[in-house]
């Protein structure tokens, strides 16, 4: 981030400066394991109260970056600041306090909940660590369960719940400490579409209710478009484009962002586009390409891209892009067609929603569980 953006905004709640994470590189007797450059010098500032999304394909380093933000991993270089505190300098006590405010929701609710603890113990554990007395804790857990739309049965175990309900449990646990920031690493991607919509809506409600800052790591661009205010697009450990969500989806500047948007299958018949499909695979982060890391797949590649690494530069409107030629190719992209729905569908969806609202307010409601 440049100084200009820092001075024009309030103090960022989370900020990374040149944060880098390399894995491997260890030596054994004769060999040396390759260095995986998972995250390479990312500088970002996340503002309080915003929903910030990090998008990219598998292996781009987005999950590693999310873990660096909460010091679940220690960076190889660079710093992470939470509300002005350098996480690397924080003592054990300070870190425990910070973690209460900085919570994480993992992708797979089948792996992230301890199967031998019941729901009351899972959600109550952070409160117990705070030293909250038992009776008070029980009340608080019941309130948290109600907040996330689950029945108040604290003696059940994770296996008794469906995927969507488990993700609600994980969210309730994240809320227990009274967080200011919730970081979700693909929080809805393991869920079915209809359940995914429930969790997306729940996260939005909780954000408004508790004035949270949300950081959402995802690969699903439609979910990101729906939820977030700003998006960082990652490719091979680097941020290649950062922009407000609407701007990014309307006029993607980086050729990788353009390719990502063009690849989304659109659930609408208005257009069955002849899409230009991006060729090749993501190269290995153990041996990233020289120059611009995207040059091996870029449809607009020129000689300069192979040698010279493009820096993130300002492209106006609060956005930055890392491409030598974004001015030339930015306009070339056809924006993704908006999801045009038929009038018959819109009319019926209105009726559907109308009945749903009526049912939710009636006493025989089954609830949104």
């Amino acid at each position: 981030m440049t100084e200009a953006t820092q001075s024009s905004r309030p103090l960022p709640i989370l900020e990374t400066v040149g944060v880098t994470k390399h894995f491997g590189g260890g030596r054994s007797l004769l060999t040396r394991s390759p260095v995986i450059r998972a995250v390479d010098s990312i500088s970002l500032a996340i503002q309080p109260g915003e929903t910030f999304a990090i998008v990219g394909e598998s292996g781009c380093g987005k999950s590693t970056y999310a873990r660096l933000l909460t010091r679940l991993l220690d960076p190889s270089a660079g710093t992470v600041h939470y509300a002005g505190n350098d996480l690397a300098q924080a003592s054990g006590d300070e870190m425990r306090r910070i973690r209460r405010e900085l919570q994480f929701v993992f992708q797979d609710p089948f792996a992230s909940l301890n199967p031998r603890m019941n729901v009351g113990a899972i959600i109550g554990e952070p409160l117990w660590l705070e030293g909250m007395p038992r009776a008070e804790r029980r009340e608080r857990v019941a309130a948290l369960l109600a907040t996330v739309g689950l029945p108040a049965s604290t003696d059940r175990y994770p296996h008794e719940f469906s995927g969507g309900q488990r993700q609600r449990i994980a969210i309730a646990r994240a809320l227990a400490g009274g967080p200011k920031v919730v970081i979700g690493d693909e929080p809805v991607s393991a869920l079915d579409v209809s359940v995914q919509a429930q969790i997306v809506n729940l996260l939005e409600d909780l954000k408004n209710q508790f004035h949270l800052t949300l950081v959402i790591v995802a690969h699903d661009l439609a979910v990101i478009r729906h939820m977030s205010e700003r998006v960082a697009v990652m490719y091979l450990g680097e941020v290649v484009e950062l922009a407000p969500t609407d701007t990014l989806f309307r006029t993607p500047l980086h050729p990788y962002t353009q390719a990502l948007l063009a690849a989304i299958p659109i659930p609408s018949l208005a257009v069955r586009p002849q899409k230009t499909v991006l060729g090749g695979d993501v190269p290995s982060p153990a041996a990233p390409p020289s120059g611009c890391r995207f040059h091996t797949r870029c449809p607009h590649v020129r000689p300069r891209c192979r040698d010279e690494h493009p820096a993130l530069e300002s492209a106006g409107d609060d956005r930055t892009v890392a491409c030598h030629f974004w001015r030339d190719i930015g306009g070339l992209a056809t924006p993704p067609p908006s999801n045009t729905r038929s009038t018959a569908f819109e009319r019926r969806l209105e009726i559907y929603r109308g009945h749903q609202t009526a049912k939710a307010s009636s006493p025989t409601s089954l609830g949104d569980s």
């Binding site: 690849a263 899409k275 695979d281 569908f345």
Partner: protein, 356 residues
Amino acid sequence: MPAIGQSTSPDRVAAEATISALDPNRAAEQTILSVDNLTLRLQNRPNGPALVDGIGFSVESGRTLCIVGESGCGKSLTALSILGLLPPAIRRSSGTVRFRGVDLTQLSERALEDLRGNAIAMIFQEPMTSLNPAFTVGNQIAEGVMRHKGVSWQTARARALAMLELTRIPAPKDRFNAYPHQLSGGMRQRAMIAMALANDPMLLLADEPTTALDVTIQAQILALIAQLQAETGTALILITHDLGVVAETADDVAVMYAGEIVESGSVADIFADPQHPYTIGLMGSMPSVGPRTSRLATIPGQVPSANEMPAGCRFSPRCPLADTRCRTMRPPSRRFGADHSALCWYAPIETSETAA
């Protein structure tokens, strides 16, 4: 380039001969597969709940049928039952699966083995678990060719290499000798497609073929499947949960919920004129890449388990429009056009609205 596009290829003639031998009375129709009244139950509970309940659909040569639904709706079981690959705990209690007029449910295991990977091929969701880690990719593809075509190992290997080239896998000669773990997810799925198409199948079943892949790789694989299908005229049944994939690939759509096809029609019918409340809720709960308009619609609750299947409409516990009749009586199949129908008491819901 192998001659997989021609109906006169020796492979296809051999396959047709197999089928003709099975049923001399078969009509020379375009319908490749037709499934009727298929019901699947647990082996040890013959009177228990139906996991798949009386479904029927058909697919014609060169066309794509998308079966769409969420986890547990029975879409994968349906695909496995076509090939006679149901797990031992599950049994077909009624229904026919006619492949070019031949009822596959009446065939011996040996006859089915001759069809699998030959006239009917399948691509699974997770290429890592469906490829054998102990053999090279090339040998696995060649094995299927040798088994079904009775050709020499050299011919089979040449065919396997040609198929890898056809799927535009980078450096096919190197990949031929690679083990599955040495390939990326996208390349493994290409190898699976090469294997599935190596014997010129007349019917290809693809169960969530791109779900495990990144979006740019998914676009590559879908484009590849569509192109190969156009060249070979293979009938395709694509199983997916992604309505975006449906809109981009399907000719016909069957929406499954809790073991039933709740709505079916052409892709235009389903997207322009969705009738079943589940279809409507499912479409409304998908976030859009267009500008945000409102909160997502939701379908409250979750799919009922087989043991607690409601007596009436299976969607009634989650349906905002459901009333007592829906909860107690099975809904009728209502028709809205030549091929468009939905299982619902209230469809079209706007007319019921005014009546209510």
